[in-house]
Symmetry: C2
Subunit: 175 residues, 2 copies
DNA sequence: CTGTTGTTTCTGTAATTACAGAAACAACAG
DNA sequence: CTGTTGTTTCTGTAATTACAGAAACAACAG
């Protein structure tokens, strides 16, 4: 596959961004390539296009699949796996947010809960215990909010997105 | 300052979480300490409590101030700076989200815009150009949504948070 | 002036991370 | 059986990152 300069830049920038977002550069580059590739690609094509070792592409694809950002598919008369990224940008955002929640947010809440319980018995000052509890409570509040919102339907999400700040005009009436 | 085991764990976990969130461990630990500290602390006290070099504490405090997570204050009759973290959890979340938006989201949008313009002239296939444009558009849509929502008042934020998924019950009527 | 406080910059080091490339395997088609 | 495809695991290396500690400096109180 031949990359035009702007396609190369897209992949490079996505790779940079990936490393800020906690995904390593190679993995983010593979995702970027699949994201803009018109057709599914095999692992070998990805190796050639990005100049990565096969082992790393294989591992990277696994990781992307675990994030549910990439799917493997088969083509008739070909034994090789063909990989595509999620085509719908909404699904992509959902997958990324969901992944981060599971890997970063929930473990933190869990750890905070453990610390909170531990603090009951080890002579931690009341003020400090209150701070820890408040931190835990607020994080849980945000998590609950997210869980509820994410359960809404796609059209509802779109409505809310388009509505933006105007949601405030509608709400007060109902209070 | 004496740390109980649970306070130590809080700081350690916060430090771990920090490294996942793109802040380095020391910086996250300093923040964790200030977050649960009942009273403002001087740089020296932080050094002692966390066993960090003074230079690193100094740099870390600078970084936390640039994130607006920590403020320096003065006390009568003392020439040293005393540091406190944001006390209000809502302000903290806002500061973190705002910081990440500026450092991770906006640069990406900027880069995408540049790639998008570049793609006009370098023979990038139409399909690929469309993908790039779609990616840019969706990211901008989310950013606009966030910008509008963040402009709402604090009580409105609280209302929305408590409302959670029930916001859906209110909206359809108005369509 | 001296002492205190804090910042910045540099050096060196330990730990971590991100890879390439090799090798061993597994699954399966023909 | 052989050839193809893909995965997993290992070794080695280069690059990066996160520090400690030193040193030089600045600002300022008294």
């Amino acid at each position: 596959m031949i990359l035009t300069p702007s396609m190369q830049n897209f992949i490079l920038h996505w790779g940079e961004m990936g490393s800020r977002w906690g995904v390593n550069r190679s993995v983010a580059q593979i995702h970027a390539l699949l994201h803009i590739a018109p057709d599914p690609m095999t692992a070998d094509e990805i190796c050639e296009t990005l100049n990565l070792a096969r082992s790393n592409v294989s591992t990277g694809l696994k990781e992307l699949q675990s994030w549910k950002l990439v799917k493997a598919s088969r083509q008739l008369g070909d034994r090789r796996d063909h990989f595509t990224s999620i085509r719908d940008m909404f699904d992509l955002v959902t997958a990324v947010v969901e992944g981060r929640r599971e890997r970063e947010f929930l473990p933190t809440i869990e750890a905070l809960r453990a610390v909170h319980d531990e603090a009951e018995a080890d002579g931690t000052p009341e003020k400090v215990k209150a701070r820890i509890k408040e931190t835990l409570d607020v994080m849980q509040m945000f998590d609950t909010w997210y869980a509820e919102i994410s359960r809404l339907s796609r059209p509802m999400h779109l409505t809310l997105l388009k509505l933006g700040g105007r949601v405030a005009r509608i709400l007060p009436k109902s209070k």
